[in-house]
């Protein structure tokens, strides 16, 4: 598994993928958080990192599928899957190695935003006047959300040898899992009946709940189940391709 992890990380950093992902994420998030008048913290009247956590899922919606679309599609396309499948590697090593590599890249992109935390901490009046618990919860929520997006993207990538198809499919699935349920819950036909249940099926509900600084085991279990579910689907899909 370590050798797969190493292979993937090397390939991220020896091609432009890693640098572009990190740069694009930081530029977008930086602009939303500090520059654009509508969303910038500087125009708010209190110290917080709300724009970061509000827009990060949106940026990840496109960025994470762009990272994960390579995972298997590229190997299928180039025929290198035949090489990997005939080496003494288990499917678990293959999937989990690639999963960790993708996740590591996302985390590397997230780490520089800790500077934002420090800046806002300094800008608070009085200094340090911000909701530490809320921000910690949000970071954990964002990490779990990206981990879930990566799992979804990897699954999409096991389905096809076309990276474009894998990308579009992953964006669609991530969008459905995160946003669509909370939109559906607002449909008149569900209000007062099923709206709460539908809301809880989507990631947004759990993400928002964590953003409030409330670490509820139910939210964590929800995200972990999503991750395990899609990794399991990837496993099944890979087996299918072999048979």
């Amino acid at each position: 598994m370590l050798s797969i992890l190493k292979k993937e990380i090397n390939s991220f950093f020896s091609s432009l993928v890693a640098y572009i992902v990190i740069a694009v994420f930081l530029i977008f998030i930086g602009a939303f958080t500090w520059v654009f008048r509508d969303t910038s913290i500087l125009y708010f009247n209190y110290a917080g990192l709300d724009p970061l956590f509000q827009f990060a899922p949106l940026v990840f919606l496109f960025l994470i599928p762009a990272i994960t679309m390579r995972s298997f599609s590229e190997e299928f396309q180039r025929g290198t899957m035949e090489f990997l499948f005939t080496k003494p590697l288990t499917d678990f090593q293959l999937i989990f190695g690639k999963y960790l590599a993708n996740l590591v890249l996302v985390v590397i992109a997230l780490i520089p935003t800790l500077i934002y935390y420090y800046s806002v901490y300094q800008l608070g009046s009085p200094k340090g006047n911000l909701d530490f618990g809320g921000i910690m919860g949000s970071y954990i929520g964002l990490f779990l959300l990206s981990a879930a997006f990566v799992a979804i993207g990897m699954f999409a990538s096991t389905l096809t040898k076309s990276q474009v198809v894998a990308f579009i499919l992953a964006v669609f699935l991530c969008f459905v899992m995160h946003w669509v349920f909370s939109f559906m819950a607002k449909l008149p036909m569900f209000i007062g009946t099923l709206d709460d249940i539908i809301n809880r099926l989507g990631m947004q509900y759990h993400y928002d709940s964590m953003s409030r600084g409330l670490l509820d085991t139910r939210d964590i279990v929800y995200f972990l189940s999503i991750i395990v579910f899609f990794l399991y689907l990837s496993f099944v899909s890979l087996e299918k391709r072999k048979w």
């Binding site: 370590l2 292979k7 180039r78 025929g79 290198t80 035949e82 090489f83 005939t86 080496k87």
Partner: protein, 302 residues
């Protein structure tokens, strides 16, 4: 027996890529797989290397089943796939180190250097694989296949697209490997089979049509023989066709003939005697063996 295949079948929908094939191979043997395109050579190899499972039948490598003991089989087998899939953006050494990781080989640095030496990659070892020519990429593929010193090597068209010098070197490499390992290789090139292999399996439309030691392959097709004769001066055809046992004489020019017979006796003696009797001078006379190429065409032509 390092490889035992019994009644192996692989179907893609209604179409059978291979149909009930059985064969076995021993250590120290180079087994050649011949067959027209789409005959099922690659499918057989993919099953043996655990890339995909068969529809029915069994295949065993070193006594291990390719489906139920796939992981152990993959540790014992080295595989060079047909189009030699490589990571073009990796450096040669980086790639081989990764392979070492897959096989959990300790002291990988030493082994990488050994393999680079063995496959003649020394001059190119610091390059990216994408920058290598086809022949050198093929060597990287071979290095990868042999890295863990496997007991069985499966090479799918290992010499396709190489220049004559590279061909010679890669063939010598394979020949030397065949001395202590079991090698299965597929190819389109007939001379290669004659040069390299101890045994040939000819597959056509998913079925084995011949499985013979290379020397006895020719006898298999028919017992007919051809004698090529060249006289000093023009010679009438009936001089040759009157000889006992001759079925047919093909006149190439006035002086050159091909004499066909289906009998088992050697015609050359009677031709010589007849020529002496008629005071004809023979400049050249040779018995022509059916080449693997002819056998191949005969067996795979329906």
């Amino acid at each position: 027996m390092s490889i035992i295949v019994e009644n192996l079948t692989k179907s893609y929908g209604p179409q059978k890529a291979i149909d009930e094939i059985s064969f076995s191979a021993n250590k120290g043997q180079i087994l050649g797989f011949l067959g027209p395109n789409g005959a099922g050579k690659t499918t057989t190899m993919k099953i043996l290397t655990c890339y995909m499972p068969q529809t029915s039948g069994t295949a065993k490598v070193c006594g291990l089943d390719v489906v139920t003991e796939s992981f152990a089989v993959r540790q014992k087998i080295g595989y060079l796939a047909e189009h030699n899939p490589l990571y073009l953006d990796m450096y040669v050494k980086e790639y081989l180190k990764m392979v070492a990781g897959f096989h959990k080989i300790k002291n990988s640095k030493k082994r990488v250097d050994e393999m680079i030496d063995f496959t003649g990659l020394s001059r190119e070892q610091h390059k990216k694989i994408g920058a290598l020519s086809k022949g050198y990429r093929q060597r990287v593929g071979l290095a990868q296949a042999m890295f863990h010193d496997p007991e069985v090597l499966v090479l799918d068209e290992p010499t396709s697209g190489l220049d004559p010098n590279q061909l010679k070197e890669i063939r010598a490499l394979i020949k030397s490997l065949g001395e202590e390992k079991t090698v299965i290789l597929s190819t389109h090139i007939m001379q290669e089979v004659q040069m390299l292999c101890d045994r040939v399996i000819i597959i056509d439309q998913g079925k084995i049509v011949a499985d013979d030691p290379i020397d006895s392959l020719a006898n298999r097709v028919s017992s007919s023989s051809v004698v090529y004769v060249e006289f000093e001066d023009a010679c009438p055809v009936n001089l040759l066709s009157d000889i006992n046992g001759v079925d047919n004489v093909k006149k190439i020019t006035d002086r050159k003939f091909e004499v066909y017979s289906t009998g088992s006796e050697d015609l050359r003696k009677s031709i010589f005697n007849k020529a002496v009797k008629n005071s004809k001078v023979i400049l050249e006379m040779r018995m022509e063996d059916l080449s693997v190429e002819d056998v191949f065409q005969k067996l795979t032509n329906n």
